[in-house]
């Protein structure tokens, strides 16, 4: 049986009234009807729901769905020294938007951002909760840099900050940490910088397992070098990034993989048997027992009911793959 995991985000709201509590809560906070602490309680109820759904379906390694994140960029970067957040910018090729971090001076880590949320999530999950962070090179690429005038310099300082954050998560008990670098699917040439940045993060990981995840496209051009990046596990989007598949099938991987074979950006349902068959094509080339099956990226681009359905397909596919493994 191949294990299953998710990439990060989970839909915050669904169609039922109970599943829309967070949306109502934020609207009430905006109107001044509740205070921040009350909203946080609602957020945590939502995190419990999200964990319950993943636990019930039987996902082996879950996340808190990044429910408290405004977006993938400003949630962490916005809390660093010398960073403010500005107007909305389109997030890659999605129809979602992030508040753009604006860097005015040397960035530095101030205090843990994610550790409390992680502890809460782990206390409410039957299985390990993966801590997920946006990687420094993606953060640097999507920010507005008014200080460094050098993506590399900014990325490396951000890497130091992400490293501190990883250290605080590991101290809180996280045994699985994932760094997302979707920017590699757009600028494969950034791999050298990603690796250099990961070195700074790796020194804080202690005994935790460090995953490097790329999504929103393929990494075919850099696949062979990606294996040398200082991470324990590599996560790959094999749907939008289907061009990675032939190189992966040909060269295999010395590191365990997260195989993002379930389309997390379209509602069309995959045949679990076909997904299992595809995963098993890697038998012998990849250590499938140490690897995971997953959606191709975070699930927040799907409605909640469809996201659940995708996770059921994922789970069934993993079980079917187990029969042949």
């Amino acid at each position: 049986m191949v294990r299953t995991t998710v990439v990060g985000t989970y839909p915050r709201i669904g169609e039922t009234s109970e599943e829309q509590a967070l949306r109502r809560g934020i609207a009430r906070l905006d109107r001044g009807e509740i205070v921040e602490a009350e909203l946080q309680a609602i957020e945590r109820d939502t995190v419990r729901q999200v964990l319950r759904e993943q636990n019930e379906i039987g996902i082996d390694l879950v996340t808190d769905g990044q429910i408290s994140w405004y977006d993938s960029q400003s949630h962490f970067a916005g809390k660093l020294t010398s960073v403010e957040t500005n107007g909305l910018v389109r997030y890659f090729d999605t129809n979602t938007y992030y508040r753009q971090p604006v860097v005015h001076g040397a960035v530095a880590w101030k205090a843990p951002v994610l550790a409390d949320d992680w502890k809460f999530a782990q206390a409410n999950s039957k299985v390990p909760v993966k801590a997920v962070l946006t990687g420094p090179v993606t953060l640097a690429s999507l920010a507005l840099d008014k200080h460094y005038r050098s993506k590399k310099a900014l990325a490396l300082d951000l890497a130091t900050a992400v490293g501190e954050e990883v250290g605080s998560l590991v101290q809180a008990g996280a045994s699985n940490v994932q760094i997302d670098e979707p920017i590699l699917t757009r600028y494969p040439g950034d791999l050298t910088l990603v690796s250099e940045a990961l070195e700074r993060i790796r020194s804080h990981k202690a005994r935790s397992t460090l995953t490097l995840f790329t999504f929103f496209g393929d990494v075919a051009a850099i696949y062979k070098d990606l294996g040398d990046a200082p991470a324990d596990i590599l996560g790959l989007d094999l749907v939008q990034g289907s061009a990675t598949w032939p190189v992966l099938a040909k060269h295999g991987s010395t590191k365990p993989l997260v195989l993002g074979l379930i389309d997390a950006r379209n509602t069309r349902e995959e045949d679990p048997a076909a997904i299992a068959k595809k995963a098993l094509e890697l038998k012998g080339a990849v250590d499938l027992k140490a690897s995971y099956l997953s959606p191709s990226n975070g699930l927040e681009f799907l409605p909640r009911d469809r996201a659940r359905r995708k996770l059921q397909i994922l789970r069934t596919a993993a079980q079917k793959a187990g029969v042949g493994a």
Binding site: I13, G14, R23, G87, D93, N95, N266, P303
Partner: protein, 323 residues
Amino acid sequence: MNALLTTSVGSFPKPEYLTRARTKASKGELSPDGLRTLEEKATSEWIRFQEEIGIDILVDGEQYRGDMATYFAENIDGTEISGLVRSYGNRYYKKPIIVDELRRRGPISVDWFTFAQAQTKRPVKGMITGPYTMMDWSFDEYYGSRADACFAFAKLLHDEAVALEAAGAKVVQVDEPALSTRFDELPLLVKAVGIVTKGLKAKTVLHTCYGNYNEIFDYFNKLPVDQLDLEMSNSGLDLLDRFKREPLKKEIAFGVVDVHSHVIEPESLIRERIEKALTIFSPSKLLIDPDCGLKTRSVDEARIKLRNMVAAAHAVRTAHGLT
């Protein structure tokens, strides 16, 4: 007069009575006819307001729409509507799902155009959600190819554009907020918009927003429309230098008011923006409007922003002797 004409991008905020009515209607506590009456009331109010402040080319304000893609999809065969998906912050929308061959079952926005145009002698824009945006914002369980889905939308949206023209639309606007989503697909967008606008005698406009304009600049003159409507106050004022070097061979509707900010731009600031635009574009080819639809603002904010915009445009006209 034909200088510095003022217009709007499309949507206006819904008055509270309409927002409440929509909630009721979604729960089945208000009949479709009851809702329609209030949508018409709100539309008439916005038409009157635009006339009162002196806007030259009007919009119907899209009081009957939730989301621009979903509204079109609901009126096209071969689609279903998904559950809620997040856009940003606390904003969610329902996405179309293509489940079968796409077919136009009848007029989509023509009735509302006709209703709005009947209330004013000034031109009202006919509004079409563009084929590329319809494709990009839909889930696809049928075509399996982005190009095929996009062209299927383009063909039926052409029929809609022809119907708007036949109903009297002098201006037809194609909204493509998704234009800058994937640069490698810009040729697809140009082709698809070309299918929509082919053979139209009405003035054609393409609106887009949130763009990395530098990446798409080379396509501006290739877009098969007469006028480009761009968000300039929020992200694009830097773009002017580039227009100076590489002139636009079309009319431009120049966004001078940020639609995502509660901050009300004073008339003086808007005047400065218009003056800057005038250093590049001739007044007969320059229209003045907000960056994008104003639906995310409150009714009061939208009204003040529009009032200041029109006042600024009129002041600049006077200053340049364009009246």
